[in-house]
């Protein structure tokens, strides 16, 4: 018997090629199995998240249009559950799909100022995010929400992309009835549209017949955009009230002209007189908004405040999986005595569409608490980059086609998205954009309202491993963080809603927005922000001399001392007959060579201007500087003023101690009109 060699014994017989092959095959099979298991798990998890989001969006949509909320007459301070229908009867019984406009606006306000609260209450947790889009079914823009009476909401409501203006004195949403002249009178003529005509046409109005336009009952501010013919003597008639068509027009060939304030019924008749060949009109605007000035929004829409876009509120994703549902409802109106008698629910004629969207686009933990999280939803993530502030780099270079597409912009506060910009306080902003750096840094700049007011500029450097544009993999999705620094010195703008404009540029440096520059790669100009704390007004008294009543009236040639009157407010909310009321005036300008500005306050009812108060402010030596003043004037409201919604005028006169009580007089230094409610009858 031969013994095996020692060498063979020490090697053993397990380590053979068969075993290597078997082990490799096993590991390969096992790896594939684990991989399939993981894929299957992730698919299941993703599918479950999809189901969950679909369920949530349906539930939230139904809850909003079919329930009144909890408590049924909820306000922003005490809301537990958001529901938008009107409460009718006891115990929160409700008319399904009759939407309470106050509740809708309060929901939008909360989405803007306290997003996380709304999200948690609507979705039951913070796992997913949501946003709403509000639009009108049978019209573009938000016309179905215009001219709606309100009970609780008094402040303008901000969507992320546009404001919904609220007329505080008249307790309603403002309406903006826009009429294209060519729709009313035909006679299209584009020959004079070199600087732009809304919807591309003017209308020649010589010998035009009367036009009947639908209107909303109540007071209106009437504007018309005319083709300048300064020597022309044409008149425009609104319901038999005549206004000179050309007197007072200013600025450019074609301009908006404020005709005046006027009570309208459900239909207005518009006609012309003394026209000549060449007289042309572009558009007509009937609005209840005392502060809206179409001359300030002339860039793209030629003063048309109706953007045609839905109101967006909440946190909107850039791409990714979004689950949506569309619900409709009719805007309810306050019941009249007859409605109460018959028990019917009065409704408006506009159908509002509510698009609810739930999404969970970013990587997030499983919807479980504590340390037990074991799973994640895997999605394609946007690449996070920073945009670093730069001192100066204004070398905007035209570089078309663009390599940057901006998708959305989110301003952040402590508790989530927050669209308030306060002067002196830096603000974090995230811009989601798609594109490339093209081998150079990209430049972004931020402005309020227009190119004069910059609030930030920054540079995004080329990330490592970015392949150039044109490469199949060269289209990146970026989530870019930036910081705004609103400087109060550079931002003399009043508190309120303003537009944030973002320009993006791939070459050279940052770009100003149009019309100062059009070379940017991309622009986003529909971000609606609340601006606060930027304009500091000097408080000055407004007092009476001992001249008694009446004071010396007269409108003398303007001295250009008083610039814009920023605001006119009745501090008590309404004018009460027989009581002393205080009005606050904020304005910019100076007191001229005489050191005085005389202010006259008038209430207009029908075609009558009734003087209700007057005072003068005195500052010597402020001429030649731009000053911002705030002052209060007290007066007792005469008992002759009819009760109801009326107009209050403030008229400034800076010459020779005279008071101007003719707001329509071209010599009036400055005029401000607001709607007021007169009570105490």
């Amino acid at each position: 018997m031969h013994s095996l060699p020692v060498k063979m014994k020490s090697k053993g017989q397990m380590f053979t090629w068969d075993m290597i092959f078997g082990l490799t095959l096993f590991l390969l099979t096992f790896g594939i199995t684990i991989s399939i298991w993981d894929t299957s798990y992730n698919d299941l998890r993703s599918s479950e998240d999809g189901y969950e989001m679909t369920w949530l969006v349906e539930t939230v949509g139904d809850q909003l249009v079919r329930t009144a909320g909890d408590p049924p007459n909820w306000a922003r301070e005490n809301v537990i559950t958001y529901g938008l229908t009107e409460e009718s009867g006891a115990y929160g019984q409700t008319e399904s799909r009759i939407i309470d406009a106050d509740k809708l606006l309060m929901l939008l306000q909360d989405l803007r100022s306290n997003y996380t609260k709304v999200r948690d209450r609507l979705l039951g947790s913070g796992t997913y995010d949501l946003y709403l889009e509000v639009s009108c079914l049978n019209s573009t823009g938000l016309t179905c929400l215009q001219g709606i009476p309100l009970q609780n909401v008094t402040d303008t409501v901000g969507c992320n992309n546009q404001p919904i203006y609220v007329n505080r004195p008249w307790k309603m949403t403002n309406s903006y009835e826009w009429h294209e002249a060519e729709d009313l009178w035909g006679n299209n003529d584009e020959s004079q549209c070199a600087i732009g005509c809304s919807r591309g046409n003017l209308s020649a109005i010589h010998q035009a017949p009367d036009a009947h336009v639908p209107s909303k009952k109540g007071g209106h501010y009437v504007w018309v955009r005319v083709l300048g013919n300064p020597g022309g003597g044409a008149w425009i008639f609104i319901d038999q009230t005549a206004y000179p068509l050309y007197a007072g027009t200013s600025g450019g060939i074609i301009d908006w002209k404020f005709l005046g304030t006027q009570e309208l019924g459900y239909e207005a008749v518009i006609g012309f007189n003394d026209t000549a060949a060449g007289d042309m009109v572009d558009a007509l605007l009937l609005t209840t908004d005392q502060s809206y000035d179409p001359r300030r929004d002339n860039r793209d829409r030629y003063g048309n405040p109706n953007t045609g876009k839905p109101c967006e509120a909440g946190l909107k994703p850039a791409g990714g999986e979004v689950h949506t549902v569309m619900k409709t409802g009719i805007i309810g109106l306050p019941p009249t005595a007859l409605d109460r008698l018959t028990g019917r629910e009065p409704v408006g004629d506009g159908i509002v569409q509510l698009r609810v969207a739930v999404w969970g686009g970013r990587e997030r933990t499983a919807r479980i608490s504590g340390e037990t999280t074991t799973s994640t939803t895997t999605t394609t993530l946007r690449k996070a980059i920073d945009c670093n502030p730069i001192a100066d780099k204004d070398m905007c270079v035209s570089d078309k086609p663009s390599v940057i597409t901006m998708e959305n912009t989110v301003l952040w506060g402590a508790g989530g998205p927050e669209y308030t910009l306060t002067c002196g306080i830096n603000k974090d902003v995230t811009i989601n954009w798609v594109g490339n750096h093209g081998g150079n840094p990209n430049y972004f700049a931020f402005f309020v309202d227009d190119g004069r007011y910059m609030v930030g500029k920054c540079k995004s450097d080329v990330p490592a491993n970015e392949v150039p544009p044109g490469d199949p993999n060269g289209d990146y999705e970026y989530e870019m963080n930036c910081t705004l620094w609103p400087d109060p010195v550079a931002l003399p703008l009043p508190n309120g809603m303003h537009t944030l404009i973002v320009t993006a540029e791939n070459e050279g440096g940052f770009c100003y927005p149009s019309p100062m520059n059009d070379s940017y790669d991309a622009v986003m100009d529909d971000i609606n922000i609340d601006l606060t704390g930027c304009l500091n007004y000097n408080s000055i008294p407004c007092q009476k001399w001992a001249e008694g009543y009446p004071p010396p009236f007269g409108c003398l040639p303007a001295s250009d001392s008083v610039g814009d009157i920023h605001s006119l407010n009745v501090l008590g909310g309404a004018l009460t007959r027989g009581q002393e009321e205080t009005v606050e005036v904020k304005w910019e300008g100076d007191h001229g060579p005489y050191g005085h500005v005389q202010w006259t306050f008038l209430v207009k009812y029908g075609s009558i201007y009734d003087t209700v108060g007057y005072c003068h402010s005195d500052v010597v030596g402020d001429t030649g500087t731009l000053n911002y003043y705030t002052m209060e004037c007290k007066f007792t409201v005469p008992g002759s003023i009819p009760c109801g919604p009326q107009y209050l005028y403030a008229v400034a006169e800076a010459r020779d101690g005279r008071y101007c009580k003719e707001p329509d007089n071209p010599l009036a230094e400055a005029v401000k009109i607001i709607g007021v409610t007169v009570d105490g009858c």
């Binding site: 082990l23 684990i34 998890r45 809850q63 329930t67 049924p72 006891a90 919807r367 479980i368 074991t374």
Partner: protein, 306 residues
Amino acid sequence: MVVLGIVMILFIIIGFLVYRAYVRSNDLKIYVSGERLANRIADKINSLNAVSDGHMTTLSIPAELFGARNYTLKFYDNESAAFIEGSAFSTGSDLRFSSPLSTSNVNCLLPECTRGCNATSSEQCLKVDEAMEITLKKHAGGIYLTQRHNTVQESLNADVAAYDLKGKPDPSNPPAFVTRLGAQRNVVYVHHNTADKTYALVFSMAGQGGRMKIEFVNMTGRLLELRSDDAGEFTFDAATGLPKASWDNPVTDPVDGGSLEFKKGFRGCFAMTEITGPNDWLVLSSDGNNVKLSKTEDLVTCIAYP
């Protein structure tokens, strides 16, 4: 040995990977079952909340989540969501699922809501350890998790309507729909105070010469006040903290009795431990119908409203 060691290490790693995958998939199954259950409960409550008062529906809930995990259903004041608290398969630690509700006015009157949870005053919880079919009722703007019939005694199931009155019940001066039954009567009825929306369970005994003792064995709802026509007859049992009554109606006293006043809905279960007198005990509906209770001593009767 080296090869064997490598193989062992490989198998340990493989075993860990398999275990991890198994745990993940089981956690996912718990997640799915918990989330869907929360959604189903929310669906039922939201559907009922969208209709007017008086409607009802039923809700079936399982005894456990996936993996034989017990769970608790919770509702909180001022929070419009249904919460389910379970435990993870992997660690046994708490898992919480939530679904949004269209109301925060959810009230649990089930006996299971009074045991098993350390519920605070702003919290209601239902510890589930068996499959249940729950009745949901919409009443006075709120959602109530309650029993199918509002009067239950052994095999007896009946429904009675509450008596509406602007004011509190007066046990010594019963309303006309009670006195209509005649001088010899013993009744229980539900009183609804329309002024402050409170409810009361009222006992009224007019069977002269009768005697009765009652002990409550279970009670849900927020008790506001316990009243009796004679002091000392309707009190709280020091041992249980629940009400107990001992009424002895002499010939000279036409009416005896008391009432339990609750803030919202209620469910009271009581046993008559001593009954004398010839008359039946009736649960009286405000529409005049009545349900005769068995006079068997210690037999538990449960009356819930809504």
